[in-house]
Assembly symmetry: C2
Homo-oligomer: 251 residues x 2
DNA sequence: GTCTATACGGTGATAGAC
DNA sequence: GTCTATCACCGTATAGAC
């Protein structure tokens, strides 16, 4: 009965997502996933031959979810700079409030295996393929800092690969804003990183921040719900020379 | 020969720190630590009876290192608000540039076992003890509470615990600034979280950000070195009504 | 398709020689 | 104190009955 198949498969994926997000790849136990999906360990292997295969299925979907807000600010060329920022923060905080365990999980697995980022990101956001992942030296430090810049010779063939095509439009809007005097002076890349940081970190650092600010689970969640507005306030204050460009979004 | 003992002990700790930071508690292998310390697995167990004990020794020191910048902005009551911010960002970025793997490691282990935060933070920064950690159900494996804690039961008496004593002075300075009109309106707690986020996240999200911004290891490190100044710029812009309070720090 | 039972490899920890 | 050899356990994966 194929209907049952699909049901079980979805149950397994849901359970696997919970367990992997909670414990990471190494900490997750196939037995635990089987338990949460209400099947036996053997049946679990029947659907997904190995832990690796199951993990990749889950992780592929999770990283897609995590990258959607980024795609949002990239795809639509008609968006104004401020709209891009509002869209990004809004959709990111929304996604993360619904998947609080996502960021730490992604960062954890990406750090322990940076290689898989490229292929997964590539299929989610075409146009990111750049240099191969150099990072990470297995054991001791020693990043072979051989060639700082070897990409500049690529200009001979294809055109603007040096340009960070992913964020190019966004960056250009910031530069235009600075040129016209509407924006303060900022480093566009640093600004983007700050934007991402302020949204994502509160979910990664939750246990620490909860203690520092003495909040229980409910209070911390409320704190995060209110955070979207506050982040927007900060970002616009950082960027725009005239205070409060428009503040008639809510309430 | 006791000199040899201490040498080996330090070698073990250094190796263990590298391996634990790289792979987390669950992913770390005693054999790997032994190899990096150039001793046998049995000798490793001779110095530290169990993986658990070794981990706690390392983690205790690491979380202390991670919390030092926070202590810095708390201890000295004579610091001005702007000085506190400068001190915090400066010392945090400094610590993290020297220990890039620290934040992810801390967050990872704190999330998979929030219980141990309380006791460790307590002994590092007295005055944080608050409500018991409610959050999150550690999966299974992980470290049972070894708890060599018998020191501070004395704190159970004294009162004003409701006040967030840790950050109270900092928060009050922000509130005073707002009252006097020197500061924009901000939620002090959200501001503090943003400050921490902008410093810490770039180290946690390194693999992702490297791809997004198309930077190799060297470029990313330079980017992080420049970041301190940029963060300060942003924070002061968020907080202060008059632009550029003083910008004669460097160059 | 789903289960129980089991094979197999890897890992933390110990025993005992030197 | 340091090593090699070994134990005991746990987790993934498979075999085979139903």
């Amino acid at each position: 009965m194929q209907k049952k198949d699909l049901q079980s498969e979805q149950l397994i994926l849901k359970a696997a997502r919970r367990v992997f997000q909670r414990s990471g790849y190494g900490g997750a136990r196939m037995q635990e996933i089987a338990d949460e999906a209400h099947i036996s360990k053997a049946s679990l292997h029947y659907y997904y031959r190995s832990k690796d295969k199951l993990f990749h299925t889950v992780f592929r979907e999770d990283i897609r979810l995590f990258l959607i807000p980024l795609i949002g600010i990239l795809r639509d060329p008609s968006l104004s700079l401020e709209s891009r920022i509002r869209t990004f923060v809004g959709s990111y905080m929304n996604t993360l409030l619904e998947n609080p365990g996502l960021p730490l999980f992604i960062m954890q697995e990406l750090s322990s295996n940076p290689q898989r980022l490229i292929s997964l990101v590539e299929e989610t956001v075409p146009g990111v393929e750049g240099r191969p992942v150099d990072g990470y030296t297995g054991s001791d430090a020693s990043v072979g800092g051989v060639s700082n810049r070897e990409s500049s010779d690529s200009t001979s063939k294809e055109a603007n690969v040096d340009e960070i095509p992913l964020l190019a439009a966004f960056i250009r809007q910031i530069e235009d804003g600075m040129a016209s005097g509407r924006c303060h002076k900022v480093d566009p890349e640093q600004f983007i990183l700050s934007m991402i940081s302020m949204c994502v970190f509160p979910f990664i650092g939750r246990p620490l921040i909860k203690v520092l600010l003495k909040k229980d689970e409910q209070q911390y969640r409320d704190f995060l719900v209110r955070r979207e507005e506050e982040i927007l306030l900060y970002l616009l204050r950082i960027l725009y020379t005239n205070d409060k460009p428009k503040d008639n979004s809510r309430h």
